[in-house]
Every structure is written in C-alpha cells, then in structure tokens.
C-alpha cells in the first residue's frame, strides 16, 4: 500500500495499471532496472532544477535548485562509476518510462508559470517528488537489491534525498 501511495504521488496511476496488467511492480525490478530508475529520477530532478534556475528570481529557490543539481550529479557520478566497475548496464523498464512521461508533463506545466506561482509550484513538487522517491527507494528498492555495493549506494543516496525532502519542506513553508 505504501508503494502504491508513492506511485500515485508521482502521478503514476497509468503506470500502476500497466504494472498490474503485466505483473510488474517496483519490488520486482532487478538491480539493473532499479539502477536505471534511480538514474532517470536523478536526471528528472536535475531538469526541474535547471527550469527553476531559468525562471525563478527567488534566491532561496535558486540556491535549492543549485543544490539539487550538485547533489544529484554527484550521485549519478557514483552510480556510473559503480556500474562501470561491475561492468553492467542499467536496464530501461516500465517505471523509468512512466517517470519520464510524467516529468515531461510537469515541465510543460511549470514552464508556463512565473514569479511566486512558479516558486510555489516548484517547491511543492520538489517536496512531493522527494517524498515519493524516498518511499519507493526505502520500501521497494533497498529491501530487494541483491548486490551489496548497489544497496550501499542506494542507502547513501537515500540519506541525501531525505535531506532534500527536509530542505524542500522548509522551502515550502517559507513560500506560503
């Protein structure tokens, strides 16, 4: 139920339907599929952050966006290094595809906003996005990852994303 809530929060109702239809769920993904989801999720947040830097004039929002780019790029760098070490390639999957489709819609929506309206939407999305991803990583991915090094990287990543969730909570509060 918790995983289902996460997916719904990420706007993945359609994906959930497909997941059921094809007997797929986040908990059934293999390590390489999970790695792909994480890489996609990282890059989506980096795209949101670049959008914020292009639109927002709020110093706090811009600082947050810069932190998202800095941290998610650092995580991606570690992930790619680990995959290279393991001589493995991440595998595309239903969840990665759904995340990307949903992100395109959100970017389209947010790119039409300006000023406070954008800042509040961006902040609210960052909070919801990190909450959903953290729930997914903590409850669906980490318990099912088989490779110890991949699991350790996800555990380290979760700490970062939880810090982002806390930071986003503060940002949302200040923008009210």
């Amino acid at each position: 139920m918790k995983i289902k809530s996460s997916l719904m929060a990420m706007g993945l109702a359609v994906s959930l339907f497909h997941a059921t239809a094809f007997a797929q769920s986040p908990a059934e993904l293999n390590d390489l599929e999970i790695a792909h989801v994480a890489y996609v999720a990282d890059n989506i947040d980096i795209r949101y952050a670049h959008l914020a830097l292009a639109i927002s004039k709020n110093p706090e929002v811009r600082e947050f966006a810069n932190t998202m780019i800095r941290d998610h790029e650092a995580v991606n760098e570690q992930a790619l290094a680990l995959l290279k070490k393991l001589n493995a390639q991440p595998q595309d999957n239903f969840l990665s595809k759904s995340l990307q489709i949903n992100a395109e819609k959100l970017i389209d929506e947010m790119s039409k906003l300006r000023g406070d309206e954008f800042d509040k939407r961006y902040a609210a999305n960052e909070l919801a996005y990190h909450k959903a991803v953290n729930d997914l990583v903590e409850n669906a991915f980490i318990p099912n990852i088989e490779n110890a090094e991949v699991k350790a990287l996800f555990e380290a990543g979760l700490q970062i994303f939880k810090a982002h969730e806390g930071h986003a909570t503060m940002m949302v509060g200040k923008l009210k």
Binding site: R70, A156, Q159, H167
Partner: protein, 124 residues
C-alpha cells in the same frame, strides 16, 4: 572570494583542493599558543558534522573531511570563514587564529549545523 578579517581562521589548502579562501597575508597573523598545537578532525558524514561541537585554541589545526557523496561546506554563521566546497573524500585544514567562538553550517544543506568554541589566549 572573501578576504580575511581579524576574526578569521587561517586556512591552508589541504589535499587536492586549490581554492583557498584566505590569503597568505593571513598566515603571518598566526598566533602561537602556549601549549602544543593539536589537530582536530571533523568528519562530515551522513549529513552531520562529527563531532558537532569542538573546543580548540589558537594555533590548533582543524581538518574537515567530507565522507558523503554530496558536496558540503563548513561555513561560519556570520560568513567570516568558509572552507569552500568539499567533494567526497576531500579535506580542508584550517589553522585557528583569533577566530571567535560560534556556529557554522553547510551552505548547501543549511540544516547541517555545528559549533566551534575557541579558547582565548588568556584562558590558556
């Protein structure tokens, strides 16, 4: 780049870092303490400064090392000193001068906070 003030620590570049935030002029203002100088290590791990409270005296060295994947900084609350960005595995050493006691934080993750307490010369 922020230039030093009388309240700042003396910062030496450590490890592979080249972006020192204090000028060589500051080095001449180092104060030799009466006791032996000590090196204090502060690890940045799991989004915390460990230890998060440090007692040091003029002449001591403080070394911050980032063990997290995410880059961090150690920055005085009043911005009077700053280690600059520390990526995973990087360190920055600071030689304590007449820096005042006070809090510091990570500029990138403002919830990360710690305290630095500097003993004054006459209390040594």
């Amino acid at each position: 780049m922020k230039l030093p003030t009388r309240r700042e620590a003396l910062v030496n570049t450590a490890a592979a870092l080249s972006a020192a935030v204090f000028t060589p002029t500051s080095l001449s203002r180092a104060i030799a303490s009466d006791g032996p100088s000590i090196t204090h290590n502060v690890e940045i791990r799991k989004f915390k400064f460990v230890p998060d409270h440090l007692l040091a005296k003029p002449g001591d060295t403080i070394v911050w090392t980032n063990l997290d994947i995410a880059p961090h900084t150690a920055t005085a609350n009043d911005r009077s000193w700053d280690t600059g960005m520390l990526k995973k595995g990087q360190s920055k050493s600071v030689t304590v001068s007449e820096i005042e006691s006070g809090g510091y934080f990570c500029r990138f993750h403002p919830h990360m906070k710690a305290e630095l307490q500097i003993e004054q010369k006459d209390s040594l």
